[in-house]
Symmetry: C2
Subunit: 486 residues, 2 copies
């Protein structure tokens, strides 16, 4: 532990760009803005240009969200999603990576893929392939699936229950870890004209026989720079946070207030500790939408202009999907407090309660306008210097590691951040001025390319540490206690 | 029919490059040759350089083979495959495409994917995504899976029987056709700030309920340039040829003699006719390995040099996988006629019988050496002029449309073909001198971007022709009869 940099206030802030292979990701309606290029999501040029812009701004990664279904909760039909383009049509994210990797050298790529949608054997090969092609710059955002329409089109009558989905994901990851960490020894590839290409004695069948999967054989991919790509996760339920504590190396949170953000970060670190890991072994990224310009006034003018393009119907479509509540059943002028849903009520109390001050009750329309730019996440508006100071303060107050930046318009929002915010953060000493060489994992943690030994995945290595999580928790807790008492 | 160019002798020859995301595709052992770069298959640079080379040579496509298992038939172990690198390790092919598409403008990409390995709903989205990103330059090589090790690692105790695999593939393609051809009308996307992004009235649920798949919903991808990518296929069994007749637009054959090549081409065209299609609506590519240089002598010297690097064990590993016969049970000096296997016996009679002239019986070793360079396919050795004349004659004698070119070393074999053979074919008027603009399908057939109306897939369009194959067979036969009698 002592060789790690201390996680003190004043440390560097990490940036992820948050995008999706569709026209309307988090800011429904903004595809209608004349400067928005989201409609070119079907072209390679959109993605290679975006990747170059992000690398110019020293972003740590591009995080690609995904769904494999439609937001047909709103009105129980696809009409709203289709009309507003709300995350449909949506193309495959993983197929974008190699083109972007070819035009960049350092940018990381976090790709979303669901554990309910593909067998882990071919998926492990996809991860290994991307890790090879990107020279170790790939991460996997693990989702267990949440849109019922996706499950139906894959032939499942219903989704599994929430907790069962995580049990299934646990085993899915176990298979992936075994294939990528436990099948081929590091020096299995000889590439030797005399001895052969691979030493067969150093490649092992994983013999996995579980509740959901039987995978007797060897991995068919050779070791890649990171072996297991960096594991991303975004669950906030108790079961989701436990899963993150055991598996995640980067966690995305969406917190409307400083207090909630601080709590969320603390919960994630506690979950890591409970799983026998260093609490700082997870990088926590808070979702945020930044509207910036040369001055505060210009930034606010830009924000007001963007708001005029926001699409309340699209916002309600997304919100209905996220909460599972069909908001088409409510009048737009109905006070949102009337909507009988814990998810909505909790959102009203925390998100909206924190913002509105004129006493008038929030209506469904207000809510839809609130999330019309930047979705559920908070919005920061201001000059580069204003935004940089606010981000630095947010990090100091919450212990968050970085921000997952959604766009209002694309790539304009990202170009603005690179132009106005990054230099101001650098002036504050709160942002890198050059990339660390090496893999995504090494860039994020500075501890090499591979999963650390205390991570669950490393237990599945040949000769891995099979001690239980509680053993390791005891050991790490006593180490931390030792540090606290000089 | 009358607007089609006649398929007369003297037409232009098509070229596909045949590669795989591994070190030893068809020429085991050649990865040890000092000029071979196959070992860099894990890097983007290998693939983008190769794509540029092929486009410089006006190749129609790059065909990427794939397996999702190991050739563990030989000795019932992975030792042989691993030691010789025979198609293992092997990375995912589909993830290579976007990087290669970004550095080319015309080259087509034929990607192998098995119908047994992924649910058609996410796979349809992968096809649509690639067709968008490549601007219509993608083809799908449909395989039903043949390595038992792949089936086992996907949790199936055994593969389905051969014919059942094709029944399953039939339904798999039906789902793909419905999603890509029958869900979104051509003008469903409005991209209109007032009316919306999509017209929901023009997007239809496919309501597929079959023996293997239930897919009630809409496709989540918008129409791409070709909609259904070009369908490639390589089956040679009676059931495989029927499947090709109904679905394939390009068929790969592997024919050791002129006679067999002619028969294979005829069979494929007859299968198209039987499915109610124009017999010329399938482009037939014969596998071939070309060793060429400035002169015949240099080409033969090169061939002899390559042969010295061939790896008999790797050849036997591949051959055992292809035939299902464990050739490790035989002494290398055993006459190959002693091997009790129809597949082997047939190969001996047709392939070897056609080559060996000294009367000595072919041994297992001879056979392994024969396929050590270029696998099962025939080899043409000679100067560019020699090879060009031979290819032209082969086309005239067999009605084949083009050649699927395996490599001895990569990218050297392809560079040699571009340098020596392409200009000579052009001199003969037997090779394009510029690409036709447009999609891969339009380049191959000159009839536009979409599946022709007589193709099975077009029946699943909104308002598609639901007449049966036999109706259409009758109609097309009478048309052909009309043409034959002037």
């Amino acid at each position: 532990m002592t060789d790690r940099p201390a996680r003190t206030p004043g440390r560097e802030i990490l940036f992820n760009a948050f995008d999706m292979n569709c026209v309307a990701h988090q800011s429904p309606g903004l595809w209608r803005h004349p400067d928005d290029r989201a409609r070119t999501y079907t072209t390679l040029g959109y993605w290679t240009d975006l990747a170059r812009t992000l690398e110019r701004g020293l972003f740590d990664g591009l995080f690609l969200a995904d769904v494999l279904g439609t937001y047909d909760v709103y009105g129980a039909t696809n009409e709203g999603p289709l009309r507003t383009g709300a995350q449909v049509p949506v193309n495959d994210p993983i197929l974008l990576v190699s083109a972007m990797a070819a035009v960049t050298e350092h940018l990381g790529f976090g790709v979303t893929a669901g554990t309910a949608y593909e067998h882990p054997y071919p998926f492990a090969r996809r991860l290994a392939t991307l890790d090879h092609l990107t020279e170790g710059r790939v991460g996997w955002n693990v989702v267990t699936g949440y849109l019922p329409s996706a499950a139906q089109n894959l032939g499942h009558r219903d989704q599994m229950s929430h907790d069962e989905r995580y049990d299934h994901a646990d085993e899915y990851l176990e298979v992936i870890y075994k294939l990528l960490e436990g099948s081929w020894e590091d020096d299995a590839v000889l590439d030797d004209g005399e001895k052969g290409f691979v030493d067969p004695a150093k490649v092992h069948a994983i013999n996995h026989h579980g509740r959901w999967f039987d995978v007797p054989g060897i991995a068919i991919t050779e070791p890649s720079p990171q072996r297991m790509p960096v594991v991303y996760q975004a669950g906030t339920s108790p079961r989701g946070v436990t899963f993150a504590g055991e598996n995640a190396e980067a966690v995305f949170i969406s917190s409307p207030t400083v207090g909630i953000m601080r709590d969320s970060v603390r919960k994630v670190r506690a979950a890591a500790l409970a799983a026998g890991r260093d609490p700082q072994a997870i990088r926590v990224f808070a979702m945020n939408t930044i509207i910036t310009a040369a001055t505060d006034e210009e930034a606010w003018a830009k924000f007001e202009e963007y708001r005029r393009y926001a699409d309340p119907e699209g916002a309600l479509v997304l919100l209905s999907g996220w909460t599972g509540v069909d908001l088409s059943r409510f009048d737009l002028d109905e006070p949102v407090g009337n909507v009988e849903s814990n998810a909505i009520r909790s959102a009203v109390e925390t998100i909206l309660g924190a913002r509105r001050e004129d006493g008038r009750p929030w209506t469904v329309r207000d809510f839809s306008e609130y999330i019309g730019v930047g979705g559920f996440g908070p919005i920061l508006v201001g000059s580069g210097a204003t935004v940089a100071r606010r981000l630095a303060a947010l990090q100091d107050e919450t212990d968050v590691d970085g921000f997952n930046l959604a766009y209002a318009i694309t790539p304009g929002t990202f170009e603005d951040i690179v132009e106005f915010v990054v230099p101001e953060l650098q002036k504050l000493g709160r942002y890198k001025t050059a990339y660390t060489p090496g893999t995504l994992r090494h860039k994020l943690f500075g501890r090499g390319d591979r999963l650390p030994t205390e991570h669950r995945g490393s237990r599945f290595r040949i000769g891995g540490d099979l001690s239980t999580a509680s053993d390791r928790l005891e050991s790490i807790t006593s180490q931390l206690a030792g540090i606290a008492r000089p």
